[in-house]
């Protein structure tokens, strides 16, 4: 997909499936999702609530309870398969080679312990160092993420910090053992725009310095355009479109992606009227029989034989490096896309 795709991706996910057993029956939260993330690159996973974007990442991190969750497929991290690996092995790798930043730093940091203690613990779990060295490492990390007065901050509790500072602490904790891959789950959603800008800048700097592979989970298309190299759009637990950043924004090829792009207001231009997607995201318990997006799609009459109602479309390569899940032919989709987005598709 990207220029660096000749060498082996750092994270390789193949046909990942996650199934929960609930009172109301089996619920497939993630259905055959595959992607690659290379070192120094960012993959954005976009989707609405219930699209499976967070669950798929928790599965990669080994943070789902395997007793109640059926996880199948393959997750290769730096050449090592994780789905079949033992919990202990995954725990070892988590923090060391891969790490996660959560949306809400207040509920992800322990409220009882000073942040210094929490950071030191994170270091000592993975590195054989004494407390003093671990504390020095913690301080260094806080400085690296732009927290002023790092030495003093080590002795504060999470509630004493502002939202932006807490998010920085989260990032520091995620990076304290130099992981080579980070999953950031809506890392800026709870933050104000000016602080969001700081955090994005920070992630970008860290990536440039350490060559970190980043999986960025977000619903904000602006953040995607800003940070991503590749984009994966999820809907109803499935990947519905996958392409590199510019391809996705300038030559989108799936009705759901069109809907997303037409429904966001912008700060740089006046839009006459938003074109929302009708209806609501589907319930994973009662997915439509045919295409999952069919009930909200306005183009199903373009497909003969009511195929959209009866058959789930496959994820197919419509153009080199560009995958989409839709029954329409590539020509049909390109025409609609040009019609709807006009100049935007002219690269």
């Amino acid at each position: 997909m990207s220029a660096a795709s000749t060498d082996e991706p750092y994270l390789k996910v193949r046909d990942l499936e996650v199934e929960f057993t609930t009172e109301d029956g089996k619920l497939k939260a993630v259905d055959r999702v595959s992607y690659d993330v290379h070192k120094g690159k960012t993959l954005a996973i976009v989707g609405e609530s219930g699209s499976g974007k967070s669950v798929s990442s928790l599965a990669v991190m080994g943070l789902l309870n395997r007793k109640t969750t059926a996880i199948t497929g393959e997750v290769w991290l730096d050449g090592e398969e994780l789905v079949a690996a033992t919990d202990d092995r995954v725990r070892q790798l988590r923090g060391q080679k891969m790490s996660m930043i959560f949306q809400d730093p207040l509920s992800s940091l322990h409220p009882f312990y000073k942040i210094g203690k929490q950071l030191v613990e994170a270091v000592q779990v993975h590195q054989q160092v004494d407390k003093k060295a671990a504390r020095a490492r913690a301080k260094e990390m806080l400085e690296r993420v732009g927290i002023p007065d790092a030495e003093k901050r080590l002795d504060t509790y999470p509630h004493e910090l502002s939202g932006g500072m807490r998010q920085r602490v989260m990032i520091a904790m995620a990076l304290v053992n130099d992981p080579e891959m980070i999953i950031a789950d809506e890392p800026t959603t709870a933050l104000d725009v000016t602080v969001q800008a700081q955090i994005i800048e920070l992630l970008r700097d860290l990536q440039a310095d350490f060559g970190t592979a980043i999986v960025l989970i977000t619903h904000d298309l602006g953040v995607v355009a800003d940070m991503a190299d590749d984009v994966l759009v999820m809907y109803g637990g499935r990947c519905v479109e996958q392409a590199d950043n510019r391809e996705l924004f300038y030559r989108p090829q799936m009705p759901y992606t069109w809907g997303l792009l037409s429904s966001v207001p912008r700060t740089d231009i006046n839009l006459e009227r938003l074109e929302p997607i009708a209806g609501n995201p589907p319930s994973l318990l009662s997915l439509p029989k045919g295409c999952v997006f069919r009930p909200r799609c306005t183009y199903h009459d373009q497909v003969p034989d009511g195929l959209c109602d009866t058959t789930r479309p496959d994820l197919t390569e419509s153009e080199p490096g560009h995958m989409a899940r839709c029954h329409m032919t590539t020509e049909q989709r390109l025409e609609i896309m040009r019609d709807r987005f006009g100049d935007r598709s002219l690269l």
């Binding site: 609405e48 609530s49 502002s162 939202g163 932006g164 500072m165 104000d192 725009v193 000016t194 602080v195 969001q196 800008a197 700081q198 994005i200 800048e201 619903h219 904000d220 298309l221 602006g222 953040v223 995607v224 355009a225 800003d226 950043n245 510019r246 924004f249 300038y250 809907g259 997303l260 792009l261 037409s262 429904s263 966001v264 207001p265 912008r266 700060t267 740089d268 231009i269 006046n270 839009l271 006459e272 009227r273 938003l274 074109e275 929302p276 997607i277 009708a278 609501n280 995201p281 909200r296 935007r344």
Partner: protein
């Protein structure tokens, strides 16, 4: 140039100009009296110490001197980061919170000193839509009861009965009228927000304060609700005070926009002025911080990264409240509070060093724009 500007401005004070794309936001007639006129609005929350001998040791100045006029059918966007006082301002101007100081004239009547009881009949005219569609609806009441409540409270008896009226409104906001007897938990987030909107428009008020009405919703659903709010405004001529942190939503829906920071108004202008020719460094920074869903524009976007966080509102900086994070701050900013100076066209800014910064489309072929220098002198 400035003559033309002033003439135009005199004829249509603080009007939104038709934008370059050749359509205008619904033209607001501002020749008459404003629907809502707020002067020197303040809301300070006391900070107390001690349990038995409670004494006030300070105050959080959530809103510290807001002047605002809202004309019928107009949408005013109130934007700013969390803690800037935008929500408090929205509530204080409708007296949902008792203001500490200031005058509020609603529909030609001074309501500043009215008691809660005296305000009840006026509530017919001003309503509120809340952010969280989960906590703002009583889970034990049916949709019918919730949307019918305004009729009960106000003693309004619509011809044809309350139920028919409620079902009418439900259909209008895109809910199935047959769901009259359902409970909020049976609806999705977007549908719940429609219930909240139905309740607010039930009595066809003149003003609705919308407090972050779409920020809890998914992108695709958010657009549905925004369009609904616009349609209802067109149909009933309701004025909105739209409180939100999302600058793109505010651009989309507002005629005029107020930018707040730590309880103070930093800048106020028509939508197009504010987004294409902002004057205040805080507005510059805010706008530059929002990523645009377009990779090429993103590459070209000039970013102003503000340092640090919002200072504590209980202990705001001296002088200009924004100076601690301002990239233009000088000595004078620490000592003198910049006054909000308003140009004849209604573009107001509270800054010692205002300067036009062209953003987005305006950064291309520029129309006649007064420079910061001219502005400062004029």
């Amino acid at each position: 140039m400035s003559e033309i500007e002033e003439q135009g401005a005199a004829a249509r004070p603080s009007d939104a100009e038709p934008s370059a794309e050749g359509y205008a936001t619904s033209v607001i007639d501002r020749s008459g009296d404003p629907l809502l006129k707020v002067t020197g609005l303040k809301k300070h929350f006391p900070i107390t110490k001690g349990v038995i001998l409670r004494r006030q040791v300070g105050a959080v100045k959530a809103v510290d001197g807001l002047d605002l006029q809202v004309w019928p059918g107009e949408t005013i966007g109130l934007v700013g980061e969390s803690g800037c006082g935008k929500s408090t301002a929205g509530r204080a101007m409708t007296k949902l919170l008792e203001p500490t100081a200031g005058q509020i004239v609603f529909d030609g009547r001074d309501i500043s000193d009215l008691s809660k009881k005296q305000l009840v009949p006026l509530r017919k005219q001003m309503q509120m839509i809340f952010q969280d569609p989960y906590s703002s609806l009583n889970p034990r009441h049916t949709v019918g009861t919730i949307v019918g409540a305004p009729f009960q409270v106000q003693g309004v008896k619509p011809p044809g009965g309350v139920k028919a009226a409620v079902q009418d409104i439900m259909a209008r906001v895109g809910l199935n009228p047959e769901h009259y007897n359902r409970y909020p938990n049976e609806f999705s987030g977007g549908q719940r927000q429609r219930i909240g909107i139905a309740r607010a428009v039930a009595l066809q008020p003149k003003l609705i304060v919308c407090d972050e009405p779409v920020s809890a919703l998914d992108v695709s659903v958010q657009a549905q609700v925004i369009n609904l709010l616009e349609d209802i405004q067109d149909e009933f001529g309701i004025a909105y005070v739209f409180v939100a942190h999302d600058l793109s939503v505010v651009r989309h829906i507002s005629d005029r926009v107020v930018v707040m920071y730590l309880g103070k108004v930093m800048e106020i202008a028509s939508r197009d002025e504010l987004y294409s020719r902002p004057l205040h460094p805080y507005t510059h920074a805010l706008l530059s911080a929002v990523p645009i869903p377009d990779p090429d524009l993103e590459d070209a976007r000039e970013r102003i990264i503000l340092q640090g966080d919002l200072p504590s509102p209980s202990n705001p900086p001296s002088g200009c409240v924004f100076r601690t994070r301002c990239f233009k701050a000088q000595d004078i900013c620490a000592t003198e509070v910049p006054a909000l100076t308003t140009r004849p066209d209604g573009h107001g800014v509270a800054c010692h060093f205002p300067e036009v910064r062209l953003v987005g489309a305006a950064a291309g072929p520029a129309p006649d724009v007064p420079t910061g220098q001219e502005f400062a002198e004029g």
